[in-house]
């Protein structure tokens, strides 16, 4: 019985003939797996870091040299070749299979993306480099040398071709990076398990080896089953760029995508900003209010958990306290700790003047008794496409907000697009007026959104602001004045007032935006 073969006897003279043609098939499979890991790493690096030529070149370079390293190291393996081969398959399965999820996590949560990337490529390359020499040595007594070299290398290259075609045509579009890497990890581990049958005569305690195979297969299967939490295949088709981070929170689905030299944040599938032009949006949200109330010290931000509005606020040296009320702790944590976002918002949420409160802004504004009146309130909620958001655009909300403000405070409210959703925009303006605010609506172009609108307001009458900070990227004194002029196709239209008990804005907004989708 094979089980009684001891490992010590394996390199001895006692040989049971191996099924060489079946082992050639495993060469084909491991070659395909190896190339898939390389392509996953290269693609992922180009998505996350941009500059695909550099990323692919360095990934391929590191990978191939690591394979060379693996081939070199193979000579130090003397005994128990069959056992080593199975171990090798399981190791490649784990490192290669989990490479994509690990790299995404490293990108989202650490500063060590590049070291992780090249570390993984190096590890996978080295392990893959060991595979073929060891397999050839296992087979060397079974097959003539010239047939062995021809067979192994032919199938190695064909496997690579197979993978290189499958990857862009089927795997990426249908499965995405995470599932592809996990699936090929499973395949790799399956080859390991299969080889315990093919190499039965040369292996030690089979039960132990197969148990290891089972553990690796289970881990990868769990990973694959959990991959939907990371990204949905359907979602990848909705977003035009690659998803680099996704998280379901109790409140929303947060997705970060990366592509075309910038990255984008989506909440429940709705674009919140693109790093390419968010400065336009956030400069326009923040600075006009400061022009109305230049000596503002206490600032309230409702929504805006990405910290980008706070970045602009902190450019005003007189600011002493910023209270940011955002529903979702996952969002503000991301903005505080994820390198990508922290870099963009200049660590604004970590500034000692800033206090982050995770609460429903409406409930907080109604119930908080601890904060003194604010000089400026910046209202940066997602568009009113659901009732739970629609309430944040009602007379009730604006009246509650007014109670939290000083008598000459300034307020700016992001108010969707006056071009795409003209009635919705003017409905927000009318609602603020009904809540007792004097309003000055304005707009600008934010290319990743559309022409975008805001309502600047104060409990008292005020003039159109004409001055702003120097050294901004979009706003200048001239640009400031220009924002307050409305062309004819966006000019005021009569609109109903949005109240808690009618929620007209949600209906209006949904109807207006439907025309453009």
């Amino acid at each position: 019985m094979a089980e009684v073969d001891s490992a010590a006897s394996l390199d001895g003279a006692k040989r049971v003939p191996l099924n060489a043609s079946l082992l050639f098939i495993s060469v084909f499979l491991i070659a395909a797996c190896g190339l898939v890991y390389e392509l996953v790493a290269g693609t992922l690096a180009s998505y996350l870091l941009g500059d695909s030529v550099l990323q692919f070149s360095t990934v391929i370079g590191v990978y191939l040299s690591a394979m060379g390293l693996g081939s070199y190291l193979s000579k130090f393996i003397h005994r128990g070749l069959a056992q080593r081969f199975v171990d090798l398959e399981l190791a490649v399965a784990l490192v290669g299979g989990f490479s994509a999820p690990i790299l995404f996590q490293a990108f989202a949560h650490t500063h060590a993306f590049r070291p992780t990337l090249y570390g993984i490529v190096l590890a996978v390359g080295t392990l893959v480099g060991l595979e073929i020499p060891i397999l050839m040595r296992i087979l060397k007594d079974q097959v003539r040398f010239k047939d062995l070299v021809a067979g192994v290398l032919t199938l190695d290259y064909i496997g690579a071709l197979f993978a290189s075609l499958l990857f862009p045509l089927l795997l990426m579009p249908k499965l995405g990076l995470v599932r592809t890497s996990l699936l090929f990890g499973l395949l790799n581990a399956a080859v390991g398990l299969w080889s315990t049958f093919l190499l039965k005569s040369q292996l030690g305690t089979l039960r132990l080896i197969r148990m290891r195979c089972a553990v690796v297969l289970t881990l990868l299967a769990i990973g694959l089953a959990g991959a939907h939490k990371f990204t949905l295949a359907v979602e990848e088709e909705i977003f035009s760029d690659e998803i680099v981070y996704a998280k379901d929170t109790p409140y929303q689905r947060i997705v970060l995508t990366r592509g075309r030299g910038s990255f984008q944040l989506f909440l429940n599938g709705n674009l919140q900003f693109s790093s390419a032009d968010e400065y336009r949006y956030h400069e326009a949200l923040v600075h006009p209010a400061f022009a109305v109330k230049p000596d503002a010290k206490r600032i309230l931000v409702c929504g805006g958990g990405d910290g980008l509005a706070v970045r602009e606020i902190l450019k005003h040296p007189g600011v002493e306290r910023v209270v940011l009320v955002d529903l979702d702790p996952a969002m503000t944590d991301m903005a505080s700790h994820m390198p990508l976002l922290r870099e963009l918002n200049g660590k604004s949420l970590l500034d000692p003047r800033v206090k982050v409160i995770n609460a429903d802004a409406m409930v907080w504004v109604a119930e908080d008794r601890t904060e003194a009146p604010f000089d400026i309130a910046l209202v940066d909620f997602p568009d009113p496409n659901a009732y739970a958001l629609g309430k944040l655009y009602t007379t009730r909300f604006y009246k509650l907000l007014r109670r939290r403000l000083g008598p000459d405070a300034a307020v700016s409210v992001q108010s969707t697009s006056p071009l795409m959703a003209r009635k919705s925009f003017w409905c927000i303006n009318a609602t603020m007026e009904a809540a007792g605010f004097q309003t000055r609506p304005y707009h600008l172009a934010v290319p990743s959104f559309a022409v975008w609108g805001y309502v600047l307001a104060s409990p008292r009458a005020f003039d159109v602001p004409r001055q702003t900070l120097p050294d901004l990227r979009y706003l200048s004194d001239e640009a400031m004045t220009a924002m307050f002029a409305f062309p004819k196709d966006m000019d005021r239209v009569p609109a109903e007032v949005n109240r808690l008990d009618n929620q007209v804005l949600v209906h209006l907004y949904t109807r207006e935006w439907k025309r453009w989708s």
Binding site: P250, D360, M362, Y387, G390, R396, L500, D501
Partner: protein, 535 residues
């Protein structure tokens, strides 16, 4: 065994089946909250001792529901203080009581009132004092602060595996359905416009201000079902909506509801044809919000935990009121000049033996009321679902229950823990048999009834539940069966009896806040007038 007992036992079988499933375990806690059945049993058994002393007082109000509290508030408004209000339960409010836990306040039964027009002067005044009214328009109509009006979305219905906006499902209706739907509301508009020779509307609130013309009264001679059939209304969707409406507002079905009541439901709250019906006022704690304002005006003269067991007219014209103090387990007595009996008519028969004798059995049987099961479900978080988002009122189409209202809807909390209040009117043909069934159900049986119904729309509801508390109401709503609303029995029930004045929504035949308030104030006025003639 009497025939009646056999029938009610047979009717109880499906429920008994539930009650017998001892093995069923729920991953949440809860209890039966009430009502206090024990005292009622003692009264019937005559097991309670007599009070040692009857304390002289001008007026005793029996019952702290909306009618009793409104009478007390009226006394306070007049500066009259020589009265006491006795309430059996530990809190006042009757079916408008509310509860509260760490998540939210919630109603125990009644949870809204339609925003009144200026004609409902008493209610407008109460709401104004409670801060619900912001001002008045040029015509003197009240303007309501938006946070007290139901926040949109107000209603949704679960049908064919998903939620839809509104209670009437327009999606998939046939042209005939649509025609009948329009025709029904045209008929309602006709009644909204209708005026009698004195210029009175056919249906208005309180109903005492409406017309008593024969044409209007004739509507009370037939059931809503018969009235609908006579006009060719057969659309299943329309009939479902109307049946739901009468179950929800009256605790009865189309065939056990007077046509007058059915039309009243739709027409009384409209100013004119085509107008939307009145918006609804609601609070997280339901009508407990209004109870608090009524109670604040009279609380020093309210005694809770005092169940009145007997009211006996004396030869000297006073009334001996015996009550049982449940906290101290002792009898207390009052010698009152007048009594405002602000409980259900049937209870008056049990507590005032002379009345029972004078009015006879048939009189009391006319005031049969529908029992209700109301459950408060505390959820750790909200179940995932399909279709239209969570509304204030959420109704499952294929259910005997009435659905649930969301307590946190009005407090604007759209995420995280919440409390749902689930309603089930036992609208069977025999309310007494229904009550025996309900009273026999333990917590487990009640919880099973509620959970199994909600599972139709929320299959994973049990995993979200932290608590499920059940309130069983024996006398939740007077049933406006055909013939009651214009019956001479209602007039008789309003007549004072040997110094006892009556105040309860039963006296209108409609279990509505406005009616209860109206009767409470009327009874208080009667008492004040009587006391002035009797120093």
């Amino acid at each position: 065994m009497k025939r009646r007992t056999i029938l009610s036992t047979a009717a109880a079988l499906p429920f008994a089946g539930l009650a017998c499933k001892r093995g069923r375990k729920f991953p949440f806690e809860g209890e039966l909250l009430g009502p206090s059945l024990e005292l009622g049993h003692h009264v019937r058994d005559g097991a309670l001792p007599e009070p040692a002393f009857f304390q002289p007082i001008d007026v005793v109000i029996v019952g702290g529901g909306i009618a009793g509290l409104s009478a007390a508030r009226h006394f306070e408004g007049l500066g009259f203080k020589n009265y006491l209000l006795l309430e059996l339960e530990s809190g006042v409010g009757g079916t408008s009581r509310s509860g509260k836990n760490g998540v939210s306040a919630y109603p125990l039964a009644a949870h809204y009132v339609p925003a009144p027009t200026k004609d409902l002067t008493h209610l407008v005044k109460l709401l104004d004092e409670a801060g619900v009214i912001e001002g008045y328009d040029a015509k003197g109509e009240p303007l309501f602060a938006e946070q007290h009006l139901v926040r949109g979305p107000d209603e949704r219905i679960f049908f064919h595996g998903q939620w839809w906006e509104g209670l009437y499902l327009h999606a998939g209706e046939s042209t005939e359905d649509a025609r009948q739907y329009r025709a029904f509301f045209q008929e309602i508009d006709r009644w909204t416009l209708w005026r009698d020779t004195k210029g009175r509307k056919a249906f208005t609130l309180p109903r005492s201000l409406g017309s008593d013309a024969p044409e209007v009264r004739a509507l009370d001679t037939l059931s809503f079902k018969a009235w609908l059939e006579a006009r060719g209304f057969s659309s299943e969707r329309l009939l479902w909506l109307l049946d739901y409406a009468v179950r929800d507002d009256f605790g009865s079905r189309l065939d056990t509801t007077s046509a007058w009541a059915g039309i009243f439901y739709f027409a009384a709250r409209k100013q004119g044809p085509g107008e939307e019906s009145r918006p609804l006022l609601t609070w997280p704690e339901g009508n407990g919000f209004l109870v608090r304002h009524l109670f604040n005006s009279c609380k020093s003269r309210v005694r809770t935990g005092h169940g009145v067991t007997r009211v006996e007219p004396q030869k000297d014209g006073t009334l001996r009121v015996s009550a049982w103090c449940t906290r101290e387990n002792r009898a207390v007595g009052f010698a009152a000049k007048r009594v405002v009996f602000a409980g259900p008519v049937q209870m008056a028969g049990r507590v005032v033996p002379a009345l029972q004798k004078a009015r006879g059995k048939a009189f009391f049987e006319a005031f049969a009321a529908t029992p209700w099961l109301v459950a408060n479900l505390t959820l750790r978080n909200r179940p995932a679902e399909h279709g239209f988002p969570l509304a204030w009122d959420n109704v499952i189409r294929q259910s005997e229950g009435l659905g649930y209202v969301v307590a946190t809807h009005q407090s604007l909390r759209d995420h995280g823990p919440t409390v749902w209040t689930y309603y089930h009117a036992l609208a069977g043909p025999d309310p007494k048999a229904d009550w025996l069934k309900l009273a026999a159900m333990d917590w487990r049986a009640c919880a099973a009834l509620v959970v199994d119904d909600l599972k139709k729309a929320h299959p994973d509801i049990e995993t979200h539940l932290a608590r499920l508390d059940v309130m069983r109401w024996g006398h939740a709503m007077i049933r406006p069966r055909p013939g009651l609303l214009w019956s001479p029995l209602l007039d008789l029930a309003r007549q004072p009896f040997q110094g006892v004045h009556f105040a309860h929504s039963d006296l209108s035949g409609l279990a509505l806040f406005e009616e209860a308030q109206d009767h409470g104030i009327r009874a208080a006025e009667e008492v004040m007038a009587a006391l002035q003639h009797q120093p």
